[in-house]
């Protein structure tokens, strides 16, 4: 920033040009100030939306703090980026001996066309966005080219530091009207144009009211939309966890109808449809989720599980690889990778993956069942027996029951207990519903001619 350097030998005709660019510190202050207000406003609907999924007050309050922090961080960073891009694109205010240009591609306003200069303090705006000292707006009243009336041009102060804005006011007042303002709050005008100033002032006020109405309406609309989406999504999750897939899918459909770009709702809807046996819609909606969010790991895994169950290994493989690369520690992704390797016949590579997942207490019953199957295929019947005997919960868990039964059938077959194996297989085929594990294991057994008979 240049400091004032009086050079009395320079005449007014050769003054400038100078440029006042938006100040990065002022922009940063604005981004931080607005983030507090915006994050608070965004969290109001979320406070209601997370009610169905919060078991107690502590969880609810901590989740709300997390939501507020994430909204504040995202807003401040993205708003800062947008303001800087605008700063680069539009440049600053240029002043020279002839006139003023309010932005890079604007038409120059000659000093002689400015008939009044005034400033207005924006107290509400400043309080709302924590701007200190209070933000101001400079209004230049410019005589129209046709000579009929006066137009007003606004220059907000929040993009500049306080001293920069007052300097601008000083130069504009002095160069256009020949008056040195003594404070930042001024209203200077040429007496000939006094009668013409009333209309632009009223127009300016009406414009502000209209803008405030538009912002309020947009804010209410956006917040209401968010609240509706989050609430229905969380209600869907609640039903999903209680295995009410039909009801859950209704909630997810509502969420996707309100916000078609909300990828998690598409993904959950697809999962419900898959569990209800509506495979075509499930695949369509998984693809829809990936269209909305190309790096959404859950949808990649859901879709890959469907392809694995259908034996379409070539379609499943790239999805699993992408998911693994996006989330290397994701247990579901590693489980799918292990399944893929098993189907490819690479049992040796699948075993270490499954051993990592099937640690005691990990809650990964699927991994334990698959590990038992791998041990059977490798001839380690004792290892498989240990897993299946030590985990009686595998049979009580509805989700792993099929997989456990098929592992037991394979073990029984390998141990020469053919009648037991057939008994297990009959039990599996009697189980209702569709699930990838059932199809996967039945498909695996199809290779066994004797068992198939």
């Amino acid at each position: 920033m240049n400091k004032a350097t009086p050079t009395s030998n320079v005449s007014k005709e050769t003054w400038g040009p100078y440029e006042l660019r938006p100040n990065p510190a002022a922009i940063f202050r604005l981004a931080i100030g607005t983030s507090c207000a915006i994050a608070t406003a965004l969290c109001v609907p979320d406070a209601f939306a997370i009610l169905p999924s919060s078991p107690d007050f502590l969880s609810w309050s901590l989740r709300l703090i997390g939501l507020w922090l994430s909204a504040a961080m995202l807003w401040s960073v993205s708003f800062l980026a947008i303001l800087h891009l605008l700063r680069i694109a539009f440049g600053g205010i240029r002043l020279d001996a002839e006139g003023i240009k309010l932005w890079r591609f604007a038409k120059k306003i000659p000093w002689t066309a400015i008939v009044a200069v005034s400033t207005v303090e924006r107290r509400f705006f400043s309080r709302l966005f924590f701007i200190r000292p209070a933000a101001m707006q400079m209004i230049l009243h410019v005589r129209r080219d046709d000579g009929k009336g006066v137009a007003s041009k606004q220059i907000p102060s929040f993009q500049f530091l306080s001293e920069e804005f007052t300097s601008l006011l000083f130069y504009v007042s002095k160069l256009s009207l020949g008056i040195k303002p003594q404070s930042a709050s001024v209203c200077i005008f040429q007496s000939d144009y006094r009668h013409l100033l009333k209309k632009p002032f009223e127009e300016s006020r009406l414009k502000q009211v209209a803008i405030m109405c538009l912002i309020s309406f947009s804010l209410v609309f956006v917040l209401a939309k968010r609240a509706a989406v989050n609430y229905t999504f969380n209600m869907g999750n609640k039903e999903f966890n209680q295995v009410n897939y039909g009801k859950a899918s209704e909630f997810y459909e509502m969420a996707t109808a309100v916000d078609p770009a909300f990828a998690p709702a598409w993904d959950r809807l697809a999962r419900c449809e898959y569990r209800l046996g509506n495979k075509n819609d499930a695949v369509k909606h998984w693809h829809q989720a990936l269209l909305m969010k190309p790096d959404y790991v859950e949808s990649k895994l859901g879709l890959s599980a469907f392809y694995l169950a259908n034996g379409e290994i070539d379609k499943a493989e790239p999805l699993i690889k992408q998911a693994i690369r996006l989330a290397p520690k994701d247990e579901a992704a590693r489980l799918n990778l292990a399944q893929l390797k098993m189907l490819r016949g690479k049992i040796g590579e699948a075993v270490p993956l499954l051993e990592g997942l099937a640690k005691p207490g990990s809650g990964r019953e699927q991994a334990q069942c698959l590990l038992a199957q791998c041990y059977v295929k490798l001839g380690n019947l004792d290892g498989a027996n240990k897993i299946l005997e030590k985990n009686p919960s595998l049979l009580t868990n509805s989700y792993t029951k099929r997989l456990c039964l098929i592992s037991m059938a394979q073990l029984a077959w390998a141990q020469g207990r053919k009648s037991d194996a057939t008994k297990f297989l009959v039990q599996i085929r009697r189980l209702p519903g569709v699930c990838p594990e059932k199809e996967l294991t039945v498909r695996a057994l199809r290779g066994d001619n004797e068992l198939r008979k």
């Binding site: 920033m1 240049n2 400091k3 004032a4 350097t5 009086p6 009395s8 320079v10 005449s11 007014k12 003054w15 040009p17 100078y18 440029e19 006042l20 660019r21 990065p24 502590l58 969880s59 901590l62 989740r63 703090i65 997390g66 922090l69 994430s70 961080m73 995202l74 960073v77 800062l80 980026a81 800087h84 680069i88 440049g91 205010i93 240029r94 001293e163 920069e164 007052t166 300097s167 601008l168 006011l169 000083f170 130069y171 002095k174 040195k180 303002p181 404070s183 930042a184 190309p294 790096d295 690889k321 992408q322 693994i324 690369r325 996006l326 989330a327 290397p328 520690k329 590693r334 590579e349």
Partner: protein, 196 residues
């Protein structure tokens, strides 16, 4: 690290590194260190911040997953195919920032790359070039990683980002700073205005 002015302004004599090649090396290293330190610091900060925020958002349902937790515990083995060094770099990045930390680190990297532009000494062409290539490559590659972890996309984003940023800083940057800043004035004394 001040340079003399090579802008189309009065007193434009060019950067001193034009006469001393060794200074050009120093300027390149200086610019690179600025970009990488800024990007790395912001990336780590945002990754930890985002991991913590995500843990709060999902309190009670998901464990705290901090950056670098995976370490060397598990590395993806993808059928032993050779995907090239860029592929390994993408894997290393994804392994280092699990869960939402990956998103946070992405914000940090892009923010750091953009922020580093404010440290450019616009009078020195070699600094502008270095800043443009390094910051543009970082921002571009990370933006493309938001869509895919494929190394072809990563490389494409890296090249495109570097190209756009270099074009901007080499051909357009100085056009925006040709006109000097408006001199500041004290309203009460009106000191600077006597120059009119």
């Amino acid at each position: 690290m001040s340079c003399e002015n090579d802008l189309p302004l009065a007193n434009n004599t060019g950067c001193s590194c034009r006469q001393k090649p060794i200074l050009q090396v120093v300027h390149v290293l200086w610019a690179l260190s600025k970009v990488f330190v800024l990007c790395f610091a912001l990336s780590i900060f945002f990754a930890y911040a985002w991991s913590f925020v995500d843990w709060l958002r999902n309190y009670g349902t998901a464990p705290l997953l901090l950056p670098f937790m995976a370490g060397t515990e598990w590395k993806p083995v993808l059928d032993g195919k050779a995907y090239g060094e860029f592929d390994k770099l993408v894997d290393l990045y994804n392994c280092s920032f699990p869960g939402f930390g990956r998103f946070g680190s992405g914000i940090g990297l892009i923010a750091g790359a953009f922020w580093s532009f404010s440290f450019i000494d616009s009078r020195c062409w070699i600094q502008r070039l270095t800043f443009g290539i390094s910051a543009g490559a970082i921002a571009g590659s990370r933006l493309f990683l938001m869509f895919s972890s494929d190394w072809h996309m990563f490389l494409f984003g890296l090249s495109l980002g570097a190209l756009l940023a270099v074009t901007y800083v080499m051909f357009f940057w100085n056009r925006f700073f040709v006109v000097p800043d408006l001199p500041l004035v004290n309203l009460e004394s009106g000191e600077a205005f006597e120059s009119c």
